[in-house]
């Protein structure tokens, strides 16, 4: 096989793996948007907050230690224990559910029926609050996150492809694990929404509030549920990106990667988020590979947005959205 083609295949594989993670983050948006009409600007910060909390719990950090030390003149930083990764993940998930409950009870329950722009503004407020709150709770220094996921070159694939093509594909173990977990999660979310009672209730709330109430669905419960699921998605995304590039502010920017995915797939479509994620993942990697060298590289920063923009002009409802027809 010609080298160019082999490179392209390798790039495509890497793109697909990135795409699954984009799809996962995008799903976090879609679920909340469908069920409550809220575009959750804070999704990325939630991932950062989840990762910070996970690291903090694992390392036995005392939450709010700066604040405590400043007020009481103490000098506490760490408890005398460390928490195993799995337990810490469970505890972090509990924190994310509590956060979901607080967000609904303190903010969004009072904004039912408001204009979408007001709900959006509230999530901007939430994002900045959560960012600051995360800093105060866990400190603002860059942290490393190691939950024991395998990292580095996958040697079997390298060897296998080398024997087959005379060129070994470079595929990172972490990417493989992330892809598998994200794919399982995406499948689980789809199955949950299609086949379970709560999933049906969730779709019902997304479709018509009044009708949902009349069949005995508690809107508050569903909203807490979707924010919890979004918290869970944020946690998984936080673990993957945190393990790769450390836990720091830039982690919250992964949400920006989900935006073009949503523009492509439609804000309310679950299959749209999945296919959109894959298209953007593969598209941006291939584009960088093929066109990047001609224009001086760094196309990954803008390719997804330009693609989404072109898409918006021709198909504003997204890949799977119903055609929007103005009723007159």
């Amino acid at each position: 096989m010609p080298d160019q083609l082999l490179f392209a295949i390798e790039v495509t594989l890497n793109g697909l793996m990135a795409g699954v993670l984009y799809a996962l983050v995008a799903l976090g948006f879609v679920l909340i948007f469908k069920a409550s009409g809220i575009f959750n600007y804070a999704q990325g910060v939630m991932a950062l907050f989840a990762a910070l909390t996970l690291v903090g719990i694992m390392e036995g950090q005392v939450p709010f230690s700066h604040l405590i030390n400043a007020i009481f003149g103490t000098d506490v930083h760490h408890f005398a224990w460390e928490v195993p990764a799995l337990l810490a993940i469970l505890l972090t998930m509990t924190v994310m559910v509590a956060l979901a409950w607080l967000v609904n009870t303190l903010i969004f329950r009072h904004l039912v029926g408001q204009e979408p722009i007001i709900l959006f503004m509230a999530t901007i407020g939430l994002a900045y609050f959560l960012e600051g709150f995360g800093d105060i709770m866990w400190g603002s220094d860059i942290k490393t996150l190691d939950v024991g996921l395998p990292q580095g070159l996958n040697e079997s694939i390298d060897e296998f492809t080398f024997n087959l093509f005379g060129y070994g594909f470079f595929i990172d173990n972490l990417d493989i694990v992330a892809t598998i977990i994200a794919a399982i999660l995406v499948a689980a979310l789809v199955a949950f929404s299609q086949y379970t009672k709560q999933g049906r209730a969730l779709r019902a709330v997304a479709d018509d509030h009044q009708a949902a109430l009349s069949v005995g669905i508690s809107l508050s419960f569903i909203w807490v549920l979707v924010w919890s699921i979004a918290g869970f998605v944020a946690l998984v995304a936080g673990i993957m990106w945190g393990a790769k590039s450390g836990v720091q502010f830039s982690l919250s920017l992964i949400a920006l990667k989900a935006l073009p995915v949503l523009m492509l797939g439609g804000f309310t479509s679950i299959p749209g988020a999945i296919v959109g994620g894959l298209i953007i993942g593969v598209g941006e990697k291939l584009f960088e590979f093929l066109v990047g060298p001609l224009v001086g590289g760094a196309t990954e920063n803008w390719f997804a947005y330009v693609l989404a923009l072109i898409f918006l002009v021709f198909r504003p409802q997204g890949l799977f959205g119903e055609k929007i027809i103005e009723r007159v």
Binding site: F192, Y195, T196, D208, A211, L213, V215, S218, L225
Partner: protein, 272 residues
């Protein structure tokens, strides 16, 4: 005969039981508008109870009070012998009170089958964890609910549109699907807001037959709003008549028909 607290027997020989739902001195205001003014009436076990009156009389408001969508400023709601605290609509639904809406509220993006399945939500007991992991009871429950829903679908003769997204159905069928969803909950009390509005004669006859069959076969207590006098007289055991938020008549169709205030309200004003 209506005074007997143990119920009464209808002209067609059905035994009506004691009081299931009682509204006591209900007053409901929207800002300056008084939608319901100091109204009391009861609904008995097994009965078909109608609420009639001109447009804007407050009929839908009354149904919304019963189903918890509106909370009245004054008055008490008694259900099965207990005073009901202010409740959210979903809590009322879980007590076994199902309803349809005057303007139809269906899940337009879902199929007929899925819509009717949502009616079973109040009957589903398995926890979110069992559901999420598709554990033991969750699967059995889903199968049982499916079977029940299929019976309701057969009963209302909508088998042929089971898999059709509701948004594509014509108006008359939507009304029927909405009834199916309410029936799927196996309600003790079924509230129907103008179930025959906007239907042609044939559709009205079908709907009347379904309402009578539901009451007859399942013993479901039904409260319905309708402003076609003829239909109401044929269907209902007792009728409440409202006008401008006030109750102006209450009794059997025959009694109500002879009531002078009712005749005036219907003849004197061109409400309709």
């Amino acid at each position: 005969m209506l005074d007997a607290s143990e119920g009464y027997v209808t002209p067609d020989g059905r035994q009506i039981g004691g009081v299931m739902m009682e509204m006591r001195n209900i007053t409901l205001r929207f800002g300056g508008v008084v939608a319901i003014k100091d109204i009391s009436f009861d609904i008995r076990e097994g009965e078909i109870r109608a609420i009639i009156g001109p447009n804007g009389a407050g009929k839908s408001s009354m149904l919304n009070v019963i189903s918890g969508f509106y909370n009245p400023q004054e008055g008490e709601v008694w259900f099965r012998g207990a005073k009901r605290p202010p409740m959210k609509p979903f809590q009322v639904a879980r007590q076994g009170i199902a309803r349809t809406f005057q303007n139809i509220a269906l899940f337009e993006g879902m199929t007929v089958l899925d819509n009717v399945m949502t009616g079973r939500l109040t009957q589903m007991r398995s926890s979110i964890w069992a559901q999420a992991l598709w554990w033991g009871s969750a699967e059995r429950e889903e199968t049982e609910n499916r079977a029940h829903v299929e019976r309701v679908i057969d009963f209302l003769e909508i088998q042929s549109i089971r898999k059709t997204p509701v948004g594509r159905l014509p108006y008359g069928l939507k009304k029927r699907v909405e009834l199916a969803r309410a029936l799927a909950a196996e309600p003790k009390l079924l509230l129907l807001d103008e179930p025959m509005a906007g239907m042609n004669v044939e559709e009205k006859e079908d709907m009347s037959r379904f309402i009578l069959d539901v009451n007859d076969e399942f013993g479901t207590t039904i409260a319905l709003i309708e402003h076609d006098m003829g239909v109401v007289m044929d269907l209902s055991d007792r009728v409440v008549v409202m006008d401008y938020g006030k109750k102006i008549g209450d009794g059997t169709p025959d009694e109500v028909r002879k009531n002078q205030a009712v005749i005036d309200a219907y003849l004197g004003v061109a409400h309709d």
